[in-house]
């Protein structure tokens, strides 16, 4: 290999060696897929009547549970539809993560055997030539990175409108589930109040304690749904930021992606909170 070409290959490889590691996007997308795919809030809403009725014990005087509620099968069907939406969104983020991850074949590693082959055939390879060959393979690897980067940018640009719309829809659905749970809280508390009203004086002390306990349980669940809803908003914002970052210069992109990777932990926390519903 002429020295000039060798120098060019090594030089180009060195220039591209600082190519942005898209692993940050991959890590983030994994958390995003988790929170976007979480159907726990929808499930909790679907099972609301059952949960409410579970609170009644033998000997209770007051009735509990919704009356005139449409058949459970309709709530089950509504949940199934919502689940499809979550699955689609989760699949999208998973795809994004896979595209950004280092799953593509590592060409640099396949360079060594080829070079060994040359040596075995009796040809002499100088350290400089060896470095040049390694450099060329590294260059190919960088090419794949660039391809991945470009594909990622294309995917995120073409999907951006839909992603924003669906995440917006998911936030609205989260409002439905939150109101469902608030309504359930009111029913559960009314039940305890009713029992206090129907009981003798001795039970009223315990009844008041029960009121506090039931209220606190629901408040915890409502707060988990609020955290989940905030995470969906974050997801929409981050999608926009990642998309923007892919069009930035290397340093700005690295900084932005680092910042976004830090928020992945928040998404995981939101996912964990809602999973406890």
């Amino acid at each position: 290999m002429p020295f000039r070409n060798r120098l060019l290959a090594v030089g180009l490889a060195a220039m591209l060696a600082g190519c942005v590691n898209l692993q940050a996007i991959s890590t983030y997308a994994e958390s995003a897929a988790g929170v976007a795919g979480a159907t726990d809030a929808a499930k909790r809403w679907r099972d609301s009547d059952k949960k409410l009725r579970e609170q009644r014990l033998d000997g209770d005087v007051c009735p509990i549970g919704y009356t005139g509620r449409l058949p459970q099968a309709q709530f089950d069907a509504a949940y199934d539809d919502a689940e499809k939406l979550h699955q689609a969104m989760s699949a999208y983020f998973t795809a994004l993560g896979e595209l950004a991850s280092d799953q593509l074949p590592d060409l640099a590693k396949t360079a060594a055997p080829s070079l060994e082959g040359i040596k075995g055939a009796g040809a002499k390879a100088s350290p400089e030539e060896e470095a040049a060959v390694q450099g060329l393979f590294a260059l190919l690897q960088r090419g794949l990175d660039a391809y991945r980067h470009k594909k990622l940018r294309e995917l995120m640009t073409s999907s951006h409108g839909d992603v924003a719309r669906v995440l917006g829809l998911m936030r609205k659905l989260a409002d439905v589930y939150a109101e469902g749970l608030r309504g359930e809280r009111i029913q559960a508390i009314n039940f305890v109040k009713c029992e206090i009203g129907q009981s003798d004086l001795g039970d009223k002390y315990l009844g008041r304690r029960e009121l506090v306990r039931v209220g606190a349980d629901y408040d915890k669940a409502l707060s988990a749904i609020a955290t989940y809803k905030a995470a969906l908003q974050k997801l929409a914002d981050d999608h926009d930021r990642i998309r923007g970052a892919l069009a930035m210069d290397r340093d700005a992109m690295t900084r932005t992606l680092k910042a976004i990777a830090a928020t992945a932990k928040e998404l995981d926390k939101a996912h964990d909170a809602v999973a406890k519903l």
């Binding site: 007051c62 109101e179 009314n190 009713c194």
Partner: protein, 128 residues
Amino acid sequence: MTDTTLAYSADELVQLAKALDDMAEAMPVGTPGPDGLTAMRWSQSLGGAAQNLLLMAQRDYLADTTEPLADIVVTTKEATAALAKIKAIDKIVEVVGDVMLLATVIWLQKWNLVLPTVKELRNDIRSV
């Protein structure tokens, strides 16, 4: 708003469900004796109606429906505010009964019955 169709949005269905839940919360369920039990049963019906409206909203969100239900939301809110002033259980039952009927005609999508029901509810609120 016409006789046979009613423009509404899923957002407004959620607001209406909220108003019904608030109304359930305002029911005097802690009253000793049969009045407390009656109030509890109405609270359960209001809760059930709210859940049905939420189901309708959820479906509409998924179907991307957007239309206004503002009049009814406002009226139901007024009704809830009026509840606080009512002392007699039979008067409460009258107002809540109207609200329940209203919620029912909405989820059954009997739009021609919505306007007369709203009118009836307004009359009952005024007479409180």
